[in-house]
C-alpha cells in the first residue's frame, strides 16, 4: 500500500470547509485523502448502517403497531444474583464488556502507529477475547429465552413480534461480533508475525480493523437504547 504523502510539496491539500468539499469532489482525482482500504471500510460501514437501521425501524414499526402488550425487557432480561433479581443486568454487563473491548481496540490502533507491534497485537487479542466473551453471553441469553418459549414466530410473554425482533436484531449483531473476533484474530497474527514490517511498517490495517470493531460497538449502543431500555 504505497502512500501518497512521500512528497509533501506535491501533496498540498485543498482548503477545508465547503470550498474543500467542492474541490475534493469536483476534479478527476482521489476524492478522499485517506488510504483506499480505510475509505472502503467506511463505505462498507455506511451500507451496514442502512441494514441495521432498517432492522431497528422495522422493529419500531411492529412494536408500535401491535395491539398485544410488549413484554417488559427490564424483567425479561433480569437475572437472579444471590437470590435477588436484578433488572437487565446481563445486558448491562454485555454493554460494559463491549465498551471495554472498544477501549483496548483504540489503544491497539495507537500502538500500531507507534510501530510497537507486540503491544498492538496483544491488545488486538485482548479485544477479540472480550468479543468472544460478549458472544458467549449472548448465547446464554438466547438459550434462556428459547427455554422460556420465545420463538421468532411466537412469544408466551406477549406480542409475538418481540421474538421476531429479538432474534433478528441481536442475531445479526452477534454475527457481526463473531466475524469481528475472527477478523481481529487474523489481523493480530499478521501484526505479530511482522507482515507489516515487511511493507514499510504501515499499520493502517489496525485502524481499519478498529473501524469495524468500533462500529459493532456503535450498533450495540443503539440496540441497547431502543430494544432493551425503551
Amino acid at each position: 500500500m504505497a502512500q501518497e504523502g512521500m512528497n509533501p510539496a506535491a501533496d498540498a491539500l485543498p482548503p477545508e470547509g465547503w470550498r474543500g468539499i467542492v474541490d475534493d469532489w469536483a476534479t478527476d482525482k482521489q476524492a478522499f485523502h485517506v488510504p483506499w482500504g480505510k475509505a472502503m471500510m467506511w463505505i462498507f460501514l455506511l451500507s451496514d448502517t442502512f441494514i441495521f437501521t432498517t432492522f431497528l425501524t422495522g422493529y419500531m414499526n411492529v412494536r408500535m403497531s401491535t395491539a398485544v402488550e410488549w413484554p417488559n425487557p427490564s424483567e425479561v432480561f433480569a437475572l437472579s444474583i444471590f437470590g435477588q433479581p436484578i433488572p437487565l443486568i446481563l445486558i448491562a454487563i454485555m454493554t460494559f464488556v463491549l465498551i471495554t473491548s472498544s477501549g483496548t481496540m483504540a489503544l491497539a490502533v495507537n500502538y500500531g502507529y507507534r510501530r510497537d507491534r507486540y503491544r498492538a497485537a496483544a491488545l488486538m487479542f485482548v479485544t477479540a477475547a472480550f468479543g468472544a466473551i460478549f458472544v458467549g453471553m449472548q448465547a446464554f441469553e438466547w438459550t434462556k429465552l428459547i427455554e422460556e418459549g420465545v420463538r421468532p414466530w411466537a412469544n408466551p410473554m406477549g406480542a409475538s413480534q418481540f421474538g421476531a425482533s429479538f432474534f433478528k436484531i441481536t442475531g445479526f449483531h452477534g454475527l457481526h461480533v463473531s466475524a469481528g473476533v475472527v477478523y481481529l484474530a487474523v489481523g493480530a497474527l499478521k501484526v505479530l508475525r511482522g507482515d507489516y514490517e515487511r511493507r514499510g511498517g504501515n499499520y493502517e490495517i489496525v485502524e481499519i480493523t478498529g473501524l469495524y470493531w468500533h462500529f459493532v460497538d456503535l450498533v450495540w449502543v443503539f440496540i441497547f437504547a431502543f430494544f432493551y431500555l425503551w
Partner: protein, 113 residues
C-alpha cells in the same frame, strides 16, 4: 499533518473517552430504574447520542477526517430519518386499525367510521 502520519494522537485522549463511555453506559443503565415517561425516554436518547458521538468522533477518528469524508459517510444516514418517520406514521395507522377490527367496536354499530 495527521494524514501523513496516520491517526496518531496522545494516549490520554483515549483513556478519557473510555472513562466517559463507561460513565455514560452506567447512566444509561440507570435510566432503567426511572419511571416510564418523557424524562426517562429523553435520558435514554441523550446518553445514546453522547456515546455514539464519542465513539464515531474519537475512537473512529472522524473528528480528524476531512469534511468530504465526513459528509460522504454521515450524510446519507440522515435520509433514514425519513424512513423512520413514514414507518412511525404507518405503525400508528396499523395499530388503530387493529384496535378497531380485533377488539370491541369503538363506536356503536350503525355509526359511520
Amino acid at each position: 499533518m495527521a494524514q501523513a502520519e496516520g491517526q496518531q494522537h496522545p494516549l490520554s485522549i483515549y483513556f478519557w473517552i473510555w472513562g466517559l463511555l463507561f460513565l455514560f453506559s452506567a447512566f444509561s443503565y440507570g435510566t432503567d430504574f426511572l419511571p416510564d415517561g418523557l424524562v426517562r425516554t429523553s435520558l435514554i436518547v441523550l446518553f445514546m447520542v453522547l456515546k455514539a458521538g464519542f465513539i464515531v468522533a474519537i475512537f473512529m477518528h472522524m473528528a480528524w477526517e476531512r469534511l468530504a469524508l465526513i459528509w460522504a459517510i454521515l450524510g446519507p444516514p440522515l435520509l433514514l430519518l425519513f424512513l423512520i418517520g413514514i414507518l412511525a406514521w404507518e405503525g400508528d395507522y396499523t395499530v388503530l386499525t387493529r384496535l378497531d377490527f380485533f377488539s370491541e367496536p369503538l363506536a356503536p354499530a350503525g355509526l359511520e367510521h
